[in-house]
Symmetry: C2
Subunit: 152 residues, 2 copies
């Protein structure tokens, strides 16, 4: 299995409301057959009816709108970007669950939930190299659990 | 806000079990400070204690392990890849919630949940162009909701 994710699908209660929320953040999506597709880097963010998603996945939805144990994050280029995006999300209808502030890893981040309760973190993390195109590179943490490199 | 996702964090009950599951699928991660980072394309998949994630996000976790309304998907290059990956996931400890089969959009897909209930779809979708590196391009669906192009 290749190490990549192609799509992240967020189940939503009201597709138009969800699309409007992300558009107010400046994103452009396309609606086709009751589904919204948004190009995000080399992936797609998909907004789809929560019940349809559960049915398609063969999963029973307990219909609790709470935390599902998943958070999406966008790393940004400055602390000011964190403040600006969290403020824009609030204006677009998000609930800010953690106002921007210092993080335990020496960065600066804030969290909000979208109108369906999906969790987003906006973070400035100087420890995670980011390319011009926004690509993230996981640093070499010298993980002791990994197989050691063979000597050259 | 740029159109990209930097990280997808999955809250887990048992970090070692979660890491083992993804490693059995052939992925390589690094554990640092009780967190597993996996490079996935231009992003990172992060495995982190579910309670720690909720606390960090400022969210009360109702502790229901059910469907959280989110599904991750990997598009693959053939129907055989779908079968093979879903089979490998089953052997690695996944629950197959929808065995591979035809989809309503003319593709072929299966779904499984990881040991913490996070939902994955493995799909062959000829309608979604995929680059050599696995990058996905959302096709132009001719969305009627979008602003029309200005005449040249």
């Amino acid at each position: 299995m290749e190490q990549r994710i192609s799509l992240v699908t967020l189940g939503v209660r009201d597709l138009a409301r969800a699309r409007r929320f992300y558009e107010r953040l400046g994103w452009t999506g396309q609606t086709v057959s009751g589904t919204v597709f948004v190009q995000v880097g080399a992936m797609a963010l998909v907004l789809w009816g929560r019940e349809e998603l559960a049915r398609d996945a063969g999963i029973v939805d307990a219909q609790t709108d709470g935390f599902g144990g998943v958070a999406l994050a966008q790393n940004v280029r400055s602390r000011t970007d964190v403040d600006d995006i969290v403020e824009a999300a609030l204006e677009a209808g998000a609930t800010v669950t953690r106002p921007p502030g210092e993080t335990f890893y020496g960065g600066y981040a804030g969290y909000f939930t979208d109108p369906d309760g999906h969790v987003w973190e906006i973070a400035h993390n100087p420890g995670f190299p980011m390319g011009e195109d926004g690509a993230i590179t996981v640093p070499d943490f010298g993980d002791a659990d990994q197989a050691p490199d063979l000597p050259a």
